[in-house]
Symmetry: C2
Subunit: 249 residues, 2 copies
DNA sequence: CAGTGGTCTAGACCACCAC
DNA sequence: TGGTGGTCTAGACCACTGC
């Protein structure tokens, strides 16, 4: 029994949306809504292609995109199955501002520093620019419900985009970068913990010695350029990182 | 000038290795060894296909696999470029044992608990099994150079594989799972920090109140089954997490 | 306008798996 | 042995980019 037979799949050849994408969206929706149950075997690609009036490579492209997303699994000689359980989709490259907003936490930002400064050796290495070259330097305090959550220190290449303090106070850095036409691709992160110094504690409203989460991140755009280097400290009592890692294939 | 022209690319049609894979490996090696420099434009796909005696879809498949790895970027109307800079490949789903070994830290494991126990509500939810069902329970102390690094508490479905204490003391859990034919696919992780309790401090050789890194993880195999749930605490003074996140596409 | 990648077709043969 | 996905071909037309 082919569970896709009862699914009313169809494609619109007059749509500008690619056929394989139309199909993959419909299959994904069917999985999400439980029409295709975990573990169930899809019918074979040839029949599916014939039923939709598509070629097999097109159907394969649709299925492959869902395999890449971790929703389907193919087994040679067996067939294509819906993945067994609750694998959620990988989180986006996380933006603290968006995370807080999604959680209904009413994020706010206080910009402490917004200037240009020569790149230190560490910053230059991270951004791939010569040491001493002018870079954008931003320091912000991120608040939720009026309480400090994190202290964010960021460096960006100078002429990448202009960042006005007003913009920084009303939205997140990633959103500004995307709006400037920068396509974010990946980020290299390092997460650790340490005791708050007196100054750090004061900024975040915690006593000296309190555990803080620390994160360093270099973000790359789709051409591989480093577009941001950040050093952040978070109140561990109020924040933790959640994300999904994939095994490289 | 097509930089791939001077590359001596070739494929062996008698090899069992897929043609697209042979090509992608050669291109990757050329990038890695600097034969293809960052930002350089590859020749177009049609010519490359003709030169190698392959069809265009096959060449596209090779190129696409490198795009997925973040080594190449395609631009419609422009061409295919080598990514600009130092984007390292995503880390594998990290194994503390392997990380330590790779860093020359001579990891060792002391198995504290290796038994079966009924699943608590939390464990049952994580593994997707009924509450109260017997699961494997392991507690380990991970050492490097004889110093405690982390305290690892893990739960696994009962009949997944058998874990002997001797094996657990000589290698990592992930390696044992792979050896048992389990294909790890992804993991959902949560990383935070907190002050060590007295008991935790004693286990790890740190005073009470010291910042500890905490990690909770559910690991899934390629069929989407949860195969492991772990709650780990790390000495923040000796360990931090490093990984790469990709933007979902 | 010419050149590029993006999409699509209608076939083909092979390797692997379950029966 | 039959059915599945894995790979591959030799074309085609379109959309976008840069000149």
């Amino acid at each position: 029994m082919d569970p896709t037979a009862s699914l009313q799949l169809s494609v619109d050849r007059n749509s500008p949306v690619p056929l394989y994408f139309q199909l993959s969206q419909q299959l994904e929706a069917a999985i999400e809504h439980g029409m295709l149950t975990p573990g169930s075997l899809l019918g074979n690609e040839i029949d599916l292609a014939a039923r939709l009036g598509l070629s097999r490579p097109t159907v394969r492209q649709a299925i492959q995109s869902l395999v890449d997303k971790g929703l389907l699994v193919r087994r040679r000689g067996v067939g294509t199955q819906v993945v067994h359980s609750q694998v959620k989709r990988p989180l986006e490259l996380s933006s603290l501002y968006d995370d807080l907003e999604a959680a209904g936490q009413r994020p706010a930002t206080r910009v402490l520093v917004n200037t240009f400064a020569p790149a230190s050796a560490e910053v230059a290495a991270a951004l791939g620019v010569p040491e001493g070259m002018e870079v954008h330097r931003i320091e912000r305090l991120r608040l939720a419900h009026g309480e400090p959550m994190a202290y964010l220190c960021n460096f960006l290449p100078k002429d990448l985009l202009d960042l006005r303090t007003g913009q920084l106070e009303s939205t997140g850095l990633y959103r500004l970068m995307r709006a400037a036409g920068i396509t974010l691709h990946s980020a290299r992160q390092s997460i650790g913990a340490r005791a708050a110094t007196e100054a750090e504690g004061e900024r975040l409203g915690e006593p000296e010695g309190t555990p803080l989460l620390t994160m360093q991140r270099i973000t790359f755009d789709d051409t591989g350029r480093a577009v941001e280097f950040g050093t952040h400290t978070y109140r561990a009592s109020r924040y933790s990182f959640e994300f999904q890692l994939l095994v490289r294939s």
